[in-house]
């Protein structure tokens, strides 16, 4: 095995950045007889990782989808990041007419940022002096993925899904967020085709900030409504 670690070039029709070591190894094994040496995890993959690869292969082999279509779906998924939501919120904070467009029709307004949410109806909620909004999907984990990416562990957890509808203020405290009694808390259970994005309250001390700087303090968690953005 003299040259097992030597890199070699050949036609790469896959994208290294979007693929983990094992999946990469799989594709190379398919492509040619010679074994390639990527950085591979030392531990064997677990059951559901293997199952995912196997489903992918069988679907492609049986002609139900192409490798390219799956790759494109992976790339689209990777383009869905909370930074997009943050840009949208920063624009809403600085441009009242944009905010009105967002509140009226989220899909139409977010298209300005190249967001295509497929069949989801992006519905925007505004946190104000009087109302604090927080979003959940109690039945599964629906989430505005086009503008926030994949949902984090806590959003997917049974703890959050079960409790935020019945004791939202207690759950918010677990994120370090206190909502005063004179502010109404509205929980939104997104169970159909609506996907909710919260415009959190703009913190004081940011009045002369640029849109770009504002976007840096709009966190994913603040756009779900469990925390408020901070100026520092």
């Amino acid at each position: 095995m003299a040259d097992e670690r030597e890199p070699h070039s050949h036609d790469h029709d896959h994208d290294h950045d979007n693929m983990d070591a094992d999946a990469h190894a799989l594709e190379h094994i398919h492509d040619h007889d010679r074994q390639f040496q990527p950085d591979i995890e030392d531990t064997p993959p677990e059951r559901y990782e293997l199952m995912t690869y196997a489903i992918r292969e069988l679907l492609i082999e049986k002609g139900h989808v192409t490798a390219d279509e799956i790759r494109q779906a992976q790339e689209t998924l990777d383009s869905w990041q909370p930074s997009r939501g943050a840009q949208i919120v920063a624009r809403a904070w600085t441009d009242p007419s944009y905010k009105e467009r967002l509140l009226k029709d989220g899909n139409e307004a977010m298209a300005d940022f190249g967001v295509d949410a497929g069949g989801a109806k992006l519905t925007v909620l505004e946190n104000t002096e009087d109302v604090h909004n927080v979003v959940v999907c109690t039945l599964c984990s629906c989430y505005p993925r086009a503008v926030l990416g994949l949902p984090p562990d806590w959003y997917r957890s049974k703890a959050y899904r079960s409790r935020v509808v019945v004791e939202p203020r207690e759950v918010l405290k677990e994120f370090g967020t206190e909502v005063e009694d004179d502010v109404t808390v509205r929980v939104h259970d997104s169970l159909a085709d609506l996907r909710y994005l919260v415009i959190p309250k703009r913190p004081e001390g940011t009045e002369d900030w640029s849109e770009d700087k504002l976007a840096t303090i709009v966190t994913r968690d603040s756009m779900v409504g469990v925390v408020n953005p901070k100026a520092s």
Binding site: P168, R169, D181, T184, A192, L194
Partner: protein, 95 residues
């Protein structure tokens, strides 16, 4: 299909527990809320889940419930609400 409810109408969620794929959560069944907005017509997910085409389209509403009307002993402020997206066939008028 003509729209049954308008924004502001009081509605009661059916106290029904049919088997199969449903998107009306248990905690709001039988409860009274108010139509917060009308949300357009969509293919019925209860049928899409079984390979049907989900037609005819069903109207979707956002129904706003006072937390105090859903949970006994809710100790937050009485204005606190939970808004749930519910299909027309799960709703009937409430007094």
């Amino acid at each position: 299909m003509s729209q049954i409810f308008q924004t502001g109408d009081k509605v009661r969620v059916l106290e029904a527990h049919p088997p199969g794929h449903r998107r009306t959560p248990y905690y709001c069944r039988g409860k009274v809320g108010e139509i917060e907005r009308v949300c357009g017509e969509h293919r019925n997910p209860e049928e899409l889940a079984y390979g049907f085409d989900g037609e005819p389209l069903r109207r979707l509403y956002r129904v706003r419930f006072r937390q105090a009307d859903i949970w006994g002993g809710y100790d937050g402020p009485e204005n606190d609400t939970v808004d749930i997206d519910i299909y027309e066939h799960w709703l009937k008028p409430a007094q």
